[in-house]
Symmetry: C2
Subunit: 204 residues, 2 copies
């Protein structure tokens, strides 16, 4: 009988993209040590993010979520997202629809500005780093490097969808939520883009 | 008894934003001549576009339309739009929702790239003019001017939402459709922005 919990297995699957049985085995072999189990999966070639890398995510779905903050009034906030996967077999599942709905609702509440850190223009990031540098002026290079790195991480957590803690369960990021679904389906699953509209909001 | 048709009245209202009875009266006084009736309304200060100009359209709604081209598959095309008006009294009507739905469905089919001609970057328009100029090289200035003007109009009709003929009734543009609703409600009604997503489409 196994002394590995389903929650631990799920967490490892989300982190590595490996199959359920492989994760269970690795955790058992590692006596429940998650970090060691991860290394085992990598050694065994089962952390399959790399394997999946070459496959194209070109199927998927468009989903939208409209929010009416006041009863009796029409929707004042709207979110539309494109979620990609590899096959229509997965695209048409209720799970994908539920995932798209979860993420769209998250976007409505958490107001990300970008999908991932890579989408942030370099001048925006440089502005964040510059502010951080000013705060540690004159300090050793290592401290400055830590400060600028920390500033970028903080920015990502605040404005990048994949780095944001999920509003409904802040123990995981949206990126981890997606990784969990990717692991469950064995397909690359990604949010390609989203739009968030709020009635009469100021635009850039 | 009046010999002015309801269709003529509706058309004049859409064009001027004036009230129904005022349009009817103007058409009768002008013996059915639409252009003259328009002038009369203007002289009488009843073509109220100018009056409404100062009012802010800052209420409204967000609406979305999802389209699944293949039965059994999830939505592959999505449109989200922001429609503005002046009061929540109008924003919450079924008519506004129907208008938003009509326009969103139009966008799904007609694929506009901009809301209005004013949103088109100048270099894009200049490119269209340049192509037109090449076709009439050496011709009189007037011909060249007509050609470049024609090219811009053609571009607008193809890519600007407000100038596009409505897919469900190409006797009116989306701009005229909006003007009709504006006239009916006595409020400024506008499409502020829209997004149109198609799964895995090429992006710029």
């Amino acid at each position: 009988m196994s002394n590995v919990s389903a929650a631990e297995v799920a967490k490892l699957r989300a982190a590595t993209g490996a199959g359920m049985m492989d994760c269970k085995k690795a955790l058992e072999d590692a006596a429940g040590d998650a970090e060691q189990a991860r290394m085992l999966l990598r050694e065994r070639g089962l952390a399959d993010a790399a394997k999946r890398k070459g496959k194209e995510a070109k199927e998927g779905l468009i989903h939208s979520y409209l929010h009416a903050p006041n009863p009796g009034l029409p929707p004042k906030i709207g979110v539309m997202i494109e979620v990609l996967c590899e096959t229509d077999f997965v695209a048409k599942t209720d799970e994908m629809k539920a995932l798209a709905q979860d993420i769209a609702m998250h976007i409505a509440a958490a107001k990300p500005a970008y999908v991932s850190l890579e989408d942030v223009p370099e001048d925006v990031l440089e502005g964040e780093r510059e502010l951080a540098r000013k705060k540690v002026e004159g300090k050793p290079e290592k401290v400055v490097a830590q400060a600028t790195e920390g500033a970028v991480k903080k920015f990502a957590k605040q404005f990048c969808l994949l780095e944001q803690p999920w509003v409904r369960d802040d123990k995981q990021t949206i990126g981890q939520l997606l990784a969990g679904y990717a692991s469950n389906t064995g397909e690359n699953i990604s949010v390609r883009r989203f739009a968030r509209y709020e009635v009469a909001e100021a635009l850039e």
